[in-house]
């Protein structure tokens, strides 16, 4: 359910930080695909495209303006299978410490206590796209669980399973984690400004590796924020108008 009303400066700053953090995770990519209901990853991808001087291609699914796909709804999956998509975003009703994602529901399957939409393309793309970035706007023990109730797509696969892709990082409003595929564990990369390791530990339901004094996530500087505002005004506003208006602090 989309939340209503305008955003205060704090929410705008936090959103800008998430956008910048995700944009940094796309460094070196040639082609990033974004789901249509993903304004923060979408904005990050479009910011990264601007910063790449045109080297990065962004495909926003089901957008006539921001996708060059012409071969129907299967093209995203085909394109990924051909090795033509470097990064994609996934979320999860639950995400666990082995990076398993659950998009189906809580409790016992099939009669889930809470039923979510379903697994979408996760059970394919998570295996195929080299750099899958997990993103969730809620950082809680309800979402970040020790073990998901239903594995829509597993975070890791045993040797012998064809798996060129998989989880790369997890971004939440509190922190940035990297995923270590060999260890099948997250490692805390940085804590967002104003947040603490203790907070992250308190709200995370799975065990993860961390330094005693973790780094602080870099805050986007004035120039980057200006570039972000340009991107939001010129590109994001077309596909996510409500999101764009809220992020553009009334000035946009």
């Amino acid at each position: 359910m989309s939340d209503a009303g305008p955003w205060g400066p704090e929410r705008r700053a936090q959103t800008a930080l998430l956008v910048a953090t995700i944009a940094d995770l796309l460094a070196g990519c040639r082609h990033v695909a974004v789901g249509q209901q993903s304004p923060i990853p979408g904005t990050a991808a479009l910011l990264a495209r601007r910063e790449s001087a045109g080297r990065l291609r962004v495909s926003v699914l089901d957008s006539d303006r921001l996708s060059s796909f012409t071969n129907g709804a299967s093209e995203l999956f085909d394109c990924a299978a051909e090795g033509r998509i470097d990064a994609f975003f996934l979320s999860g009703g639950q995400i666990d410490g082995r990076a398993n994602v659950n998009l189906v529901g809580t409790g016992a399957y099939p009669r889930s206590d809470v039923r979510w939409s379903g697994s979408f393309g996760s059970a394919f793309l998570y295996f195929i796209v080299p750099r899958v970035i997990l993103f969730r706007e809620e950082h809680s023990r309800r979402v970040l669980v020790e073990k998901v109730d239903f594995v829509s797509a597993p975070g890791t696969s045993p040797p012998g399973v064809y798996r060129p892709g998989g989880p790369h990082a997890l971004v939440t409003p509190l922190a940035l984690f990297r995923f270590d595929r060999a260890a099948a564990r997250f490692r805390l990369e940085s804590v967002h400004p104003g947040r603490t390791l203790a907070e992250v530990l308190e709200h995370t339901g799975f065990a993860f590796d961390y330094a005693a004094r973790p780094a602080v996530t870099a805050t986007p500087g004035a120039a980057r924020l200006a570039a972000m505002r340009d991107v939001v005004r010129e590109e994001v506003a077309e596909i996510y108008p409500r999101f764009a208006a809220r992020l553009l602090d009334g000035a946009g």
Binding site: D62, S117, S119
Partner: protein, 269 residues
């Protein structure tokens, strides 16, 4: 070969109890107006395939109690969240769900289009989807010993039902970039289409339109239904009505609210 019919009731007249009915995702043209005609038929026990996902259309059908099985990768109201009647039916155990993943739906329809007895798909291994799909199997890649691959049977819908911008009097249907509708029509035993407009000119005679036209060979019936996808959108014609979908999402949270919605919605068309 296709018949252009004058009413939506005539369009869906053959969809019987237990039929396998495939419908596209919200972006691709959902025949909402024809869905009302389907409900008027009083048909029951539908096996709905969401290609590869579905939304308000299937939530309404599930809420109305006419669906036995939902086979899809997601049922979603998009920005307005998960589908409430679907969720309630799952909790109540009154609908069977064949949970899939998008490319599995696409591949299984492709297998039907091409007459493949089965089709492989990468990924999926280790997903709980596989554990709950008795109709999916794991085989060894005959070209790489030890490489395990999921294989799927073809999905051959009895009916495909969707909405498109344009058809002609022969029943040729222009689909633009929604190429999955071509596969869907090929893959289905019968294809029923509503369109914004019916053209007097043969679409196949137009060298620029024809490459994105489903030939009447694959189309069973066509009916005009201006704004036939509303409250969902139709690319190039109108946008989705977010407020109407949000209102639906709110009302459908309870059985009573849904009943009120349904009464109002059925009366509206």
């Amino acid at each position: 070969m296709a018949e252009v019919v004058g009413t939506l009731d005539a369009l869906v007249a053959d969809i019987g109890a237990g039929a396998v009915l495939a419908v596209p995702k919200d972006y691709s043209g959902v025949a909402m107006a024809a869905t009302r005609a389907l409900l008027r038929r009083g048909v029951r026990g539908l096996h709905v395939v969401g290609v590869p996902t579905c939304g308000i259309q299937v939530d309404i059908l599930v809420g109305a109690g006419v669906v036995a099985t939902v086979e899809t990768s997601a049922v979603t109201l998009g920005e307005c969240g998960p589908a409430p009647r679907f969720g309630a039916a799952v909790r109540a155990g009154t609908v069977r769900v064949l949970d899939a993943t998008c490319p599995a739906i696409h591949n299984a329809l492709l297998a039907s289009e091409k007459g493949l007895p089965f089709i492989p798909i990468r990924g999926v291994i280790g997903s709980d989807l596989l554990a709950h799909r008795a109709d999916w199997q794991v085989v060894e890649n005959p070209f790489r010993p030890g490489d395990r691959v999921v294989v799927l049977p073809a999905i051959r819908p009895d009916f495909a039902l969707f909405h498109a911008p344009l058809a002609d009097r022969l029943g040729n249907v222009w689909i633009g970039r929604k190429r999955e509708l071509m596969t869907l029509a090929h893959a289905s035993a019968a294809t029923l289409v509503t369109v914004e407009e019916i053209s007097d000119a043969n679409l196949l005679d137009d060298p620029v339109r024809s490459p994105a036209t489903i030939p009447d060979l694959y189309v069973t019936r066509v009916a005009a239904a201006p704004r036939g996808a509303a409250p969902l959108g139709m690319t190039g014609c109108y946008a989705a009505d977010g407020a109407a979908i949000e209102r639906y999402a709110r009302m459908a949270r309870t059985a009573e609210g849904f009943a009120a919605f349904l009464e109002e919605w059925m009366a509206a068309g």
